[in-house]
């Protein structure tokens, strides 16, 4: 009878390392995600076409945006509201901000009528807002 030799084969250890190179990518993606999320003034769902004008400037940053859409509906920072609520809501949004930081952007649809936009301008003025009409440059095609 021949001798039997038993050989033990050791199992390979299953060691999985998280690739540390990907950490930078993950962190960057998270950062971008939260930056987008922080842009809470999302009014991209509102449909409006800007009027055209010359000599326009960059409007800069503002906390308050009033929009009148193509159906003459009124929005404050993307939320629909009535004309009667507007002045008080703008005032509370602006708080005690000093002059120069009280900009209120007005995005009015090019065909909306004075009956709608003039009371809005008056409300912005009453609330102590510094009005900036958002327009499109005439030269732009």
């Amino acid at each position: 009878m021949g001798e039997r030799y038993l050989m033990k084969i050791q199992r390979r250890q299953m060691k999985v390392d998280i690739p540390s190179v990907a950490m930078g990518d993950i962190a960057f993606n998270l950062l971008v995600f939260f930056v987008i999320l922080a842009q809470s003034q999302d009014d991209s769902h509102i449909q409006w076409t800007p009027a055209k004008a010359d000599n326009l400037k960059g409007s800069g940053y503002t906390k308050v945006t009033v929009t009148i859409d193509k159906d003459q509906k009124l929005y404050l920072n993307g939320q629909e509201l009535s004309e009667a609520q507007l002045a008080a809501r703008i005032e509370s949004n602006l708080g005690n901000a000093p002059a120069g930081q009280r900009k209120v952007m007005l995005k009015a649809h090019r065909d909306c009528t004075a009956a709608k936009f003039e009371p809005v301008i008056e409300a912005i003025s009453q609330a102590g807002g510094e009005l900036v009409h958002i327009l499109e440059d005439k030269k732009k095609k």
Partner: protein, 143 residues
């Protein structure tokens, strides 16, 4: 005796990472595109109380009336592109801010793009815009 070099000088870029890099580039440019600043025109309007005081002296001020298809400067019809020249002519020699007030009266059906065109010309001519709004009053009739 010859020794062979053991280390390779050519290092391959890991192909797995190129997907991540492409994705990050897409996200970066998307964010940049979505945060392009808006362009606009600032407009200084006196507060309502001041406006009331100014309206008492409206006989002395230039009045621009906007109708749906017409513009009147102190009652005279003017073409839209001639408003600036007309306002400059009327404001010549007036240096005080209160003398440069231009009262804008708009009919209810005036579209925003017409209003912006005319008020831009007034401001470019050195006028200070004041809006005159029609007041709505509710009157209770006793029965």
């Amino acid at each position: 005796m010859k020794f062979r070099r053991t280390s390779k000088l050519l290092v391959d870029v890991p192909a797995v990472a190129s997907g991540d890099i492409a994705f990050n580039l897409i996200v970066f440019f998307l964010v940049c595109a979505s945060t392009q600043p808006d362009t606009g025109r600032p407009q200084m309007l006196p507060k309502s109380e001041q406006t009331q005081q100014q309206q008492q002296q409206q006989d002395e001020h230039l009045i621009v009336e906007l109708k749906r298809n017409a513009v009147l400067v102190n009652g005279d019809p003017v073409k839209t592109n001639e408003v600036k020249a007309r306002v400059i002519a009327k404001l010549t020699g007036k240096t005080r801010l209160e003398d440069r007030v231009v009262i804008v009266k708009s009919a209810k059906d005036v579209p925003y793009h017409n209003w912006i065109e005319v008020t831009s010309q007034i401001e470019d001519a050195g006028g200070i815009i004041t809006l005159q709004l029609e007041e709505e009053r509710t009157v209770d009739v006793p029965q």
